[in-house]
């Protein structure tokens, strides 16, 4: 039964981490971030650690503009493991506000928590003048499977199709595949699917191979509203994330072989 050669990273799902993000029309300034930090008590119980990441952006605008790093204001709230890695993190950087979770349980619970954090940011920014509307919503989901490197058989995990060329099945353990497309309608959604297959360094469990599927979706508003309605924004955010969640399930269900879908809770999507 080759379908048992690959194991999802969790007992009943394969999601290793997920990121929920909002992009605002303009970048946060120091005052914006101070206001957010002043409201830390709203989520301090969940995300007690505060950090100010130092990030520099390089201007590559053209021959008349010098290439020089310019600081980008950032702020991060997190709950970390003893090794310093974040279980949950709320990050504000440039014009992005993102929530990362590296301990996925169920969509309703994880998105519910992320929604609270993002809505808190949206509420805090309600004061902004001039208004800073939300330009897009993004969701990134990373599914990971592992197997013994010596027993690596990609056909026991993924199936050939529009998102995965036949050549991937002939490259051995280490390979990469990338694809992307636009989905159009009331909004425009950019899908990026990156699949990485690598042999991991030998460890206590032997030499394993890991296959990760990173599916990023960016839902862009075709017309950014001039008047900011934060309550309407929250409804739109919720509906958008739910839709992107379903899109992710559909894409993963297209990639993974049917025999593994039930194991990771996606049989209904096939």
């Amino acid at each position: 039964m080759t379908e048992h050669l690959f194991q999802p990273v969790n007992d009943d799902h394969a999601i290793d981490r997920v990121e929920f993000a909002l992009t605002f029309a303009r970048a946060f300034n120091a005052h914006d971030l101070k206001v957010v930090r002043d409201h830390h008590e709203l989520w301090q119980g969940d995300l007690p650690r505060v950090a100010e990441p130092t990030v520099f952006a390089f201007n590559m605008g053209g021959p008349n503009k010098p290439v020089r790093p310019e600081p980008v204001a950032g702020l991060e709230f997190s709950f970390v493991r003893p090794d310093g890695s974040a279980v949950w993190a709320l990050r504000l950087l440039g014009n992005h506000a993102a929530v990362e979770c590296t301990r996925y349980s169920r969509w309703a619970k994880v998105w519910g928590a992320a929604q609270r954090y993002l809505e808190s940011v949206v509420n805090v920014f309600s004061y902004q003048e001039p208004p800073n509307p939300i330009a897009n919503v993004a969701l990134t989901v990373v599914d990971v499977f592992t197997t013994e490197a010596a027993a690596y058989d990609l056909s026991a995990l993924l199936q050939e199709g529009d998102l995965l060329p036949a050549a991937s099945f002939k490259r051995g353990v280490n390979w990469h595949a990338y694809s992307g497309w636009f989905q159009t309608g009331d909004c425009r959604v950019l899908h990026n699917v990156n699949i990485d297959s690598v042999e991991l360094p030998p460890g206590p469990a032997g030499t394993l191979a890991s296959v990760s599927i990173t599916h990023s979706m960016v839902l862009t508003r075709l017309a950014i509203p001039e008047v900011v309605d934060r309550e309407a924004d929250k409804v739109w955010l919720s509906q958008s994330m739910e839709n992107l969640h379903l899109e992710n399930k559909s894409v993963v269900a297209t990639l993974v072989i049917p025999a593994l879908l039930q194991r990771i809770g996606l049989k209904a999507f096939k």
Binding site: G45, P48, A51, F79, P82, V87, R103, K109
Partner: protein, 204 residues
């Protein structure tokens, strides 16, 4: 979900907040507000208040589970892997998990469990995990059949962890007492007294 089983009742409980209380926790006991733990631990990671953390948070916790470990099966576990697994499993429970009307651990309970479990050292012993199906409260319990002492951490989701120590003698549970959660001074006196938990562990 075989690691989870029904809550079998807690006879007594005690609670105390704050790092100051850790200093007076002798014989390997520690009681603390879990909300304080991650901030302190982060200070370790980022280079602030290191001496305070080591002295008042990590060291007492480590001592506590060394003591408890001698009461256990003698088998060590990769505790953080267990902590990740159990936290994720608890979070996957939904209401009705143990039949109609049963409650799953709420967000606040999981937040408190997470805050405490994430501070355990990797050599800590793996506890049993119990869920009160009526309230969603979570209890982590250490002990063994060969010992007459158990230690339990009870999480009700109120920002506190209740540390319960039980000595099972031939007749009964022996010296135990209940406190209102807000009665911090009374609880502190209980833990510091000769009849308190330290004595129970000495008897073991």
């Amino acid at each position: 979900m075989s690691a989870l089983r029904q809550h079998d009742g807690i006879h007594t409980g005690a609670i105390l907040r704050g790092v100051t209380s850790l200093r007076r926790a002798g014989a390997g006991f520690a009681y603390f507000d879990p909300h304080e733990v991650p901030r302190t631990a982060n200070s370790v990671l980022y280079g602030h208040n290191v001496s305070t953390c080591v002295t008042c948070t990590h060291k007492p916790l480590m001592d506590m589970f060394v003591v408890v470990g001698t009461l256990g099966t003698g088998t060590s576990h990769r505790f953080q892997a267990f902590a990740e697994q159990i936290t994720r499993d608890l979070d996957r429970l939904t209401d009705g998990w143990y039949g109609p009307g049963s409650k799953s651990p709420g967000h606040d309970v999981l937040r408190d469990v997470d805050a405490v479990l994430s501070q355990f050292l990797s050599g800590a012993y793996k506890p049993e995990v119990e869920i009160d199906e009526d309230t969603g409260a979570v209890t982590l319990r250490w002990g063994s059949a060969s010992s007459n002492v158990t230690l339990a951490l009870v999480f009700n989701g109120n920002g506190h962890v209740v540390v319960v120590n039980t000595v099972v003698a031939q007749e009964t549970v022996a010296t135990s007492k209940s406190f209102k959660v807000e009665d911090h001074s009374g609880i502190a006196r209980f833990f510091a007294s000769d009849d308190g938990i330290a004595t129970l562990f000495d008897a073991a």
